[in-house]
Symmetry: D2
Subunit: 283 residues, 4 copies
């Protein structure tokens, strides 16, 4: 496939779009889709995502990267070039609640999530049979407060071994250490079972029930070292009412959690997200 | 019109529905709609709303009330009997932002909000001309931290004079004293411009922007003495994205605020809401 | 479990609720949830669903049924009595598109769809391995216009053998004969991939694309002999835009189809639906 | 204000974005927002909307237009250049149902619809007082099948006199002649009270009620000579249930109609819509 994508962040100033589009034209690439956003045309930050089609892309990758560097240097860009034919490799971390894992594998089987999923890691063994029925290796690594460092070392080694690009925490109930987070910076996607910033932390459905809210929600975000405070990728809600007990909130919540997480994973996988400070630009 | 409604709260135990429906049958009333809810069939709280049609209701009101007391005493009910033909009287409090007021008057003009609106009170005069164009009296009562007690006294006197049943705070930016709140207990409906409990207090849109949320919301609730902590009646949200600046959040928020407030006001007006602790049952 | 449900349809007249609730009180049953609806209090149709808790229900089933007959006869009711502990048995029919089947099994595994699923039938063998990984028997019965009668005979025999209560057409692309439909009257649930009545019949996504709609949808309905004209149970939509090609509509549509079908199946399974003419009452 | 917008339609081929962005850079304009879409990178149609900021735009308008012609000719573009400071002028046509008119004026008063509304025309006089309370001229032109040609002549003359850019049919219940439609080609926005293509034509709510749908909707579209068949701009729906009678569908529908129409009018007003065949591209 001859499809590529460029993600760019830099200071806004006139001429960026012209320079990039000229570069693509010069390399016989046709722009398929292009999105841009500026926090402020006068001295703000500029973000861009371009998807392009370039004949013979396989043989021109190195040259494209080399040639783009000149532009990037000129505009002091942070940038990434992706080749769509090189599928990203995701590892899923899961605990005892399997609905998010199941949704991810369902969409993956449907062909609606086009990535490789070569590894599932869990601190319990509940998911083992299910995961292996898809032909995916499942590794059980008991993890708790006590053995965190050791468990993470084992995990990081596996992620390295399997050549993993990004990690999906599909209701993985363990906290990660700064060491782990920095190893996969902006490449760990979590699902939190509330519409953040409401109900940060543990037991959000119990607290939502206590407060008597009429909506419950879920939030997918990149993991940082501040619990549930990372850049939000996607959120959604579901209407509940006075009849719904905590168990019903959880049941309804599972439906929101899995759709929100899958959307976030798809967008990450399609290079649609640029992190800026503690926010995301989602093109 | 021969339409009436009963709202009931009591301890759950067998026989309540039988007793109430027998009572209505005995008084030749036909049940049009009936909703019930129990927090727990074993020793929980029981809630019920019945709408009925009773021929010659106008002449039987007093008798119905008298006769129902026997049942109510037997089951130790809190209860209210409403006659649909007696329209509720609402006063709207407003400040400088008029979109919620406008929506209420729009629905009222359409005939979609069937109540009387004999009074609008504001601490500014911006709404005067608009309100009066509907033939509704507008009273300007400057209010601030400094003169709160005095302003409220004037307001309470007007509410009394106009025989007001409930008060709608349509983006009225003043805090009410416990004295005022207790005078209209469970009859003051506020609209807060966030999906509570996120962003309690001032400037929710600014804080939503800072946090980078992907949904903004609004919450309608009964006013208590704890700021933004009263029983939630209704909530809704609207999707936003990285392009939306604080001003855009406010603009989009206005659309949510007005629809959420109007739904809450309609439900209150149709006797659909029972407050229980710090929550609402909405039938 | 001591939980039961009664569904009632009859002519509306005063005294129905009183009679039914007295009956339950007399049998020491406590009403847990009750919903009713009347098309018209004067000479309309009356519908009711009551969920009750009755100590020692297992031993009193026969007596309850016998005693209720007197009331039912008096009010000329159509009625059904369900015991929640007797799980309904569903057969799923599927073709080559498996997303709806997968969603059903996912919710079933989560414990969010509480029924028995003892049988999956398909006119292709694509789903075989997946279904069997859940320990559910999978039967491949080739079906087409040509062998319809014969295939249906085989299907009906299996449904009988497995004691099936209702059939879910989870994107089963074959038309059923009147003979089959009448054997499972109001017990066959289909998912159609459009918001009916728009795009009745084949290729709805292609036609939605042609028309340039901004919403696509899905509709779950009971199957009758009029194609896509049966009583609608549930519908939902998803926003699309000009970028979405037919393939994207299908991809997005799959998400709507599966959630709409699962909701309909859950409601049917919880005895929440009464068919009336060509419409449904969903309590 | 120095804000401008360009809308472009042409055959897709490499170099378009480069040429346009270079043009803007050469004229010292900074791109604020840019959206593009191609039906097919190989020989498809290409659409683009660019919003730019250009210092001293007021004095350079003529030159910009002149210079852009060279590019437009080269790529055989259909194009339009808009200057944001030149507010569009809208005329609203209304009949007896005023909710859409009221919503438009509410958003206009809020400052959330930034256009000029110098004229309201109606075939009834119901809206007269309301419209004039906003200081907007109201003209009553009786219109029916019989006097259509004559009424339209009078309308067209007024539209000309008031220098109207586009017409909003805010539940105006008359059919327009091809002559009128061609005078404001792609500049007449209608609201139809169903989710098209369901329930084309008269009495959609009655038919929705008959069919027993669980969603009602509204569709905003450009008017063509085929009734309710013009390019769809926006659609939305609202959930209803078996309790809702035709009157309730209408009541709920009014809320959808007004929000859908206002969104369409805002998008048209912000030059976000390009018509292509019988569809719209909405950027």
């Amino acid at each position: 496939k001859n499809r590529g994508r460029i993600l760019i962040t830099c200071e806004d100033r006139p001429g960026i779009v012209a320079a990039v589009s000229e570069f693509l034209t010069d390399h016989e690439a046709n722009i398929i889709d292009s999105s841009q956003y500026s926090t402020n045309p006068e001295g703000g930050k500029f973000f861009m995502r371009i998807e392009f089609e370039c004949p013979g892309l396989q043989d021109r990758k190195a040259q494209l990267e080399r040639d783009f560097k000149a532009i990037a240097t000129n505009f002091q860009m942070e940038w990434k070039l992706f080749f769509v034919s090189e599928l990203k490799r995701a590892a899923i971390f899961v605990s005892k609640e399997l609905h998010c894992l199941r949704e991810l594998l369902l969409e993956w089987e449907n062909g609606d999530l086009v990535a490789e999923i070569p590894l599932v890691i869990s601190n319990h063994s509940d998911a083992k049979e299910y995961v292996e029925s898809f032909g995916i290796p499942f590794v059980h690594i008991p993890a708790s407060k006590e053995n965190r460092a050791q468990a993470e070392q084992q995990q990081l080694q596996l992620l390295d071994e399997y050549n993993i690009d990004f990690v999906v925490l599909a209701r993985y109930m363990q906290i990660l250490t700064p060491n782990f987070v920095s190893s996969f910076n902006q490449n760990i996607i979590n699902i939190h079972h509330s519409f953040l910033p409401a109900f940060v932390g543990a037991k959000p459905y119990d607290r939502a029930f206590e407060r008597g809210v009429k909506l419950i929600g879920a939030t997918s975000h990149y993991v940082t070292n501040d619990l549930d405070e990372g850049p939000i990728i996607e959120q959604d809600i579901k209407r509940v009412n006075h009849r719904d007990q905590v168990e019903d909130l959880k049941k309804n919540g599972r439906i929101v959690e899995r759709s929100v997480l899958v959307r976030a994973v798809k967008w990450h996988n399609e290079d649609r997200i640029i992190v800026h400070g503690n926010k995301t630009v989602v093109f």
